[in-house]
């Protein structure tokens, strides 16, 4: 029954004396209020088919997406890509949790642990892979890990990979010293006040595992790890919380050494800063994916994913954001720049990278994130 019919029936009851004037006006008012309240959401739902919301890491990464993927996609399909940013997967998850289904569509998530977390919270969708033929170019190892989490189907497509290694100012730290000290350079008293670190609890525990000689995916002596986290904190200038802040701290020489995202360091090197980058043994490898949220308009999202996985788009984005694409180098010619990027694996097997085990990290997330929050503040 449409609204006009409802109104006519109500009016008829009023005219026939079925309801009094106050009730009639009250019901009309309530209907008006309900319409007013639901209209913004209904408008969002109606617009959903004409636009797709994409959220990513901001900075040079977002710029690369906008320039090489979203703008050409909109030009080709007429579907607008609303481009949002976040500082981390945790922050974004909180926003998604507070949203209506369909409000957020595609996210540039980092790590299989994020994929598993979102899936466990009931936020995953099921992609129709027939609508994403360019998926055939992707390194199989990257899709397999996601399929394991979601029972064989995919809620995302892998898009790029990189490492969180150690960035250092070559004016103050030589390549030789870095090789010799590895992850322990972050605990070197000599650089007190010139060391920084990402405020991400996983990264802190990962590096503390390396500093205490433990397996980053299976530490057994957590006391030693927390002690290393505290030692690092006491030598620290500050914890950075975004890629832009990381780049600023290094470029302004506020700090000499920190762990850092490979692509951001490459961007600094391109700008002429004498910043070195090193992945210590068992350094933190990660892969990023384009995750489609439950409740999203699937066909436009799948079309966008397919467009983004097209080799020409994927390579252009990778060159812009300085992270190697998920495309298999044995199947696709990746050009000249990509083989020079940090963490690039020409074999497409990624055997040299250590990725976070989602079961290990998500199983300890509640306890460790809280404890790190305290240690971070001086406890």
């Amino acid at each position: 029954m449409d609204n006009t019919k409802r109104y006519e029936r109500l009016r008829e009851r009023y005219m026939n004396g079925g309801i009094d004037r106050r009730s009639f006006l009250g019901l009309i008012g309530a209907a008006g209020l309900a319409y007013g309240v639901q209209t913004p959401f209904a408008r969002g739902a109606l617009a959903a088919a004409e636009q797709v919301r994409f959220d990513g890491w901001g900075g040079v990464v977002s710029e690369a997406f906008r320039k090489h993927a979203f703008d050409p996609y909109t030009e080709k399909t007429g579907i607008t890509v609303v481009d949002g940013t976040f500082g981390g997967g945790d922050e974004y998850l909180s926003r998604v949790k507070a949203s209506q289904p369909g409000e957020y569509n595609i996210a540039h998530l980092s790590g299989v642990f994020d994929y598993a977390r979102y899936h466990n919270l009931g936020l995953s969708s099921t992609l129709n892979e027939d609508n994403i033929p360019n998926l055939k170019y992707v390194i199989p190892k990257l899709t397999d890990v996601f399929r394991k989490v979601t029972g064989g189907t995919l809620s995302c497509v892998p898009y790029d990979y990189g490492t969180t290694g150690i960035a250092y100012n070559r004016k103050h730290i030589s390549d030789e010293e870095m090789k010799e000290k590895g992850a322990n350079i972050l605990l070197d008293e000599r650089f007190k006040g010139k060391i920084a670190g990402w405020s991400d609890w996983r990264t802190r525990i990962w590096y503390a595992s390396l500093q205490t000689g433990q397996d980053p995916n299976g530490a057994t002596d957590m006391d030693a790890i927390w002690e290393a986290v505290r030692t690092h904190r006491d030598l620290l200038l500050k914890y950075w919380s975004s890629g832009a802040e990381l780049m600023s701290l290094l470029a302004e020489e506020e700090i000499y050494v920190t762990e850092a995202w490979s692509g951001r360091v490459y961007a600094l090197q391109e700008q002429g800063h004498d910043i070195g980058y090193m992945d210590p043994p068992n350094g933190f490898g990660w892969q990023e994916c384009l995750f489609v949220m439950k409740g999203s308009p699937m066909e436009p999202c799948e079309e966008l994913l397919n467009f983004m996985l097209a080799p020409e788009t994927s390579i252009a984005v990778a060159e812009g954001q300085n992270y190697p694409p998920a495309l298999d180098p044995t199947k696709v010619d990746l050009g000249k720049k990509i083989p020079t990027l940090p963490a690039f694996d020409p074999t497409g097997k990624l055997d040299g990278l250590t990725f976070a085990d989602p079961a290990y990290w998500n199983g300890n997330e509640q306890e460790w994130s809280k404890l790190f929050g305290r240690i971070q503040k001086g406890y």
Partner: protein, 288 residues
């Protein structure tokens, strides 16, 4: 309906849009937060509805939260004091200036045209290792290496003073501007020195503005979370950072709700104390 009855209803009719807005935008969300504070966060990050006292027990008994709260109140108090000391002379000059008052007030309002975050970040370019002050000091040969001025409690207080000083000045200015200057003239003509006139006439009469500015600066300062993130070091977190972290990083909305209500209760108690000793009427007077 009689004219009297219609007139009696009029204030309520005029107030109703504001009351509805307050209800929908403040009281309803607050009620949600109260309900949330009794829920629990499960291991996967999902919320478990119910009536659990765990979050409140943790928030009230854990020394970690108490210490950060006390540190937050300390930083807010220092900021308020600095704002009062710096703001009073500025407000006095504006209130007593002739001719260029409008220009001075406009200059005071100028910072509001720039984003608070940008204003906070601008200190990085001033106090940073390669910022304006360090560059000048090294260029003049006063120091060989940059002096560490950022990412400590002092830089957090500086950022907060930068943010809150205009609020303090405006409140004091409104109060000073409302003082009948013939009272000061009368004091002087009766033999009081300028200093004594200020202490016994001007200052007491401007106290409502000073108190209103102080309350505003304290409450806003205690609730900030951007400034410690941008200008603070590892151990300079304030209470709002804990709320942010519980809700955003740990996805623990129930605990975050309990913590935010705790901060609200402390600041609410402060407002009640203010009301008890000075009265909200004074605050309204101070706010103009």
């Amino acid at each position: 309906m009689t004219v009297e009855a219609r007139e009696a209803r009029q204030p309520y009719l005029l107030l109703s849009p504001a009351m509805v807005a307050v209800m929908l935008l403040l009281l309803v969300p607050l009620a949600f937060i109260v309900v949330y504070s009794f829920w629990l966060r499960t291991a996967t990050g999902a919320d478990q509805a119910g009536f659990f006292l765990d979050n409140w027990r943790e928030a009230l008994s854990d020394a970690f939260y108490r210490d950060i709260l006390l540190n937050t109140l300390k930083i807010a108090a220092i900021t308020t004091l600095v704002c009062a000391v710096m703001g009073y002379p500025a407000a006095y000059v504006i209130a007593r200036s002739r001719g260029n008052k409008a220009v001075l007030l406009l200059l005071l309002m100028l910072p509001f045209w720039i984003s608070y975050i940008i204003r906070t970040m601008s200190w990085i370019n001033i106090l940073g290792a390669s910022g304006a002050i360090n560059s000048a000091l090294m260029w003049l040969g006063i120091t060989d290496a940059p002096i560490q001025m950022l990412y400590n409690e002092a830089s957090v207080i500086l950022g907060l003073v930068h943010f809150l000083l205009p609020f303090m000045i405006l409140n004091i200015y409104v109060s000073l501007d409302g003082i009948d200057t013939t009272l000061e003239d009368a004091a002087c003509s009766l033999g009081a020195t300028r200093w004594r006139t200020f202490l016994e006439v001007t200052l007491p009469l401007s106290l409502p503005g000073l108190a209103a500015g102080g309350l505003l600066a304290f409450v806003l300062g205690a609730g900030t979370y951007i400034t410690p993130i941008v200008l603070g070091g590892p151990t300079d977190a304030m209470f709002a950072n804990l709320v942010f972290e519980a809700i955003i990083t740990q996805l623990n909305w129930p605990l975050g709700s309990a913590l935010s209500l705790m901060l609200l209760a402390v600041l609410g108690a402060l407002v009640l104390l203010y009301n008890h000793f000075l009265g909200m009427g004074q605050l309204m007077k101070g706010l103009g």
